[in-house]
Symmetry: C2
Subunit: 333 residues, 2 copies
DNA sequence: AGGAATTGAGTTAGCGCTAACGTAGAAATA
DNA sequence: TATTTCTACGTTAGCGCTAACTCAATTCCT
């Protein structure tokens, strides 16, 4: 490994003090243009790159943030992560990526190690921490952005970004109503999921608008995977074979449900119409292509990073962003 | 934000020197057990967490590594990343994640910023850099692991991990032969991809074993996406409608090809048998389920991290790992 | 019992960088 | 001309931590 060129090396070569070099590198005033250019040329020539750790120690800013996701393998989070990373790259920030594996103990543990690194802020996606634990984390980090999670109390160093799940569900119900469907089931996600609760409310509100009475028999909880969708759909259709529409917690669940329908000899969308949420790539790969509530995931990622930088830079901004999803009508409904 | 507890704070509270506290925290010899315990208790009580940046500055070790992938949105890399991160978590390492967007200029740029952070090592997946550029990177980082990329020269701080693409292709051809297929096409990946070249060689070798003459008409290059697979398969089948087997560069290409076949009224696997590579989650979601060369992706990720730590810790080890994929026979062939 | 080896600390210096203050000389002002 | 104000740099100190050295007190050996 080659030895790094340091500020001191350049200072010696240029026969000036380290401070002068520092000023030149950081484009700060206090030296003549010729000298600045000379130092810059020298730095270039000597292959100088500032050591960000050392700079971080001195300035207490690391230009590094943490990104906490349940599972990067899930395309939903992968898309968000991609958006975050792209925006971070543009702003010269680096990101620490950690997976919580949907486990709140591990989530607390990784936040702990992240905090040790002295990072400037964290973006936490779909946190499983309790309200209390989350508040503790918020007061220890300089800046936090919460994606897919709400918090009752508001803090000055916190911004939340949430999808409008309520409206999303209502829009789906609206579409089912337009299609003339009456037996509309909801294949919900994990019970402790916040989005699930909001979508359930939206589902109920949608039923009221469509003038359809609520029926608890049409509800089933599913793990947010294809397998979970299969299991939940199988249970649902065994209990109520006359279901003619399914609103799924997400696209994976929707695909699982679609498979089960087809295996039971039901045609999609003729016999059962299915709508998912998220619009992951799979939605257009599967046949029939999935009608789904499109959520601009990479956009959320970019927004999350910008929001975080806004907090770090002390700009006054909304404490909460609401993302409006859009119904993408394809072939399954 | 709360003020961090530092070593100095504890030293003052315990009325000992900072060094004594440092020794206690890092479990180094040189102090009595009682004093050590007392300091540890105090540290716990005061909520002390070492500042890893400061430690990194002093020790020149950051317990941080970089992970460079073309696109975390691609399930192939997401799985590997997950393996890397899991193993990193177990070893108390943190990872910087960066996407190159399959662009060699951006790849060089992110490696540059990574290097500035003074990280202990990098794992680079599917590097697009030239041999020369890669060698430059290798000599500037303490440790490097290359996944899905070979290098002619060998270096002491470098380990490569590659899938046995040659054998993989041969195994596929073997299976097609067993199925009695004769017109076997290869839908290759990008021309500059190393795996693609190796698979093409394996394909040719497989043809020889199967006693089938090589026919360049059966070759088509595809972008490694579903869309790319569709385009390539369409071109292929237009030219040579009698194709009865397709070996695809990866599962996404295979799925695209499968769709095109079905849309043209060909049955899979009866009329056209299709085999992919990688075994991403999609392979079991799609219908018919995809027969594919299974590659243990998270295992590769874990292996990559362990290999990197081995280099960092100066353990003598193989310079190259070869991963043997396995044929998972499902419904498409 | 006297010197060597060991134990349990403290002291010093420095990782690479920057904030804050200091200072010489030139230019501007009175 | 004496004084103030800039301009262009240099000096000092410190971010939080650790490596390497020092040193006093105890233990051990012959």
């Amino acid at each position: 490994m080659i030895k790094r060129t340091t500020l001191a090396d350049i200072a010696k070569a240029a026969r000036v003090s380290m401070m002068t070099v520092s000023r030149a590198i950081n484009n700060k005033p206090g030296l003549s243009d010729e000298l600045r250019q000379h130092i810059l040329d020298l730095a270039e020539e000597m292959g100088y790159r500032p050591n960000t750790f050392a700079r971080g120690l001195a300035t207490q800013q690391t230009t590094t943030i943490g990104l906490v996701v349940p599972d990067i393998t899930n395309p939903f989070f992968a898309q968000i992560a991609r958006g975050v990373e792209d925006a971070a790259f543009e702003n010269q920030y680096n990101i620490f990526l950690v997976n919580t594996n949907e486990d709140d103990v591990r989530e607390a543990a990784v936040l702990d190690t992240l905090w040790q690194k002295g990072i400037d802020g964290v973006i936490i996606c779909s946190s499983r921490l309790t309200e209390e634990a989350l508040e503790y984390q918020i007061q220890r980090f300089p800046a936090i952005v919460l994606v897919n999670r709400e918090l009752k109390t508001s803090q000055s160093n916190l911004i939340t970004i949430n999808v409008n799940d309520h409206r999303s569900a209502q829009r789906v119900l609206q579409h089912f109503k337009d299609l003339g469907r009456k037996k509309i089931a909801y294949l919900g996600g994990p019970e402790n999921s916040f989005s699930n609760q909001r979508r359930l409310e939206g589902y109920k509100a949608g039923l009221i608008s469509a003038d359809i009475p609520f029926n608890a028999q049409l509800l089933e909880n599913a793990q947010p995977t294809t397998e979970g969708g299969r299991a939940a759909a199988a249970a649902l259709l065994k209990r109520l074979p006359e279901v003619d529409a399914i609103f799924a917690f997400n696209d994976l669940v929707a695909v699982g449900a679609m498979q089960v329908c087809q295996e039971m000899g039901k045609r999609v969308p003729e016999d059962v119409a299915i709508i998912g949420v998220d619009d992951i790539p799979l939605a257009t790969i599967i046949r029939p292509q999935l009608t789904t509530m499109h959520v601009a995931l990479t956009h959320i990622g970019r927004l999350a990073l910008r929001a975080l930088l806004d907090i770090i830079n002390g700009e006054g901004l909304p404490a909460a962003y609401q993302i409006e999803p859009e119904l993408f009508i394809r072939d399954s409904a």
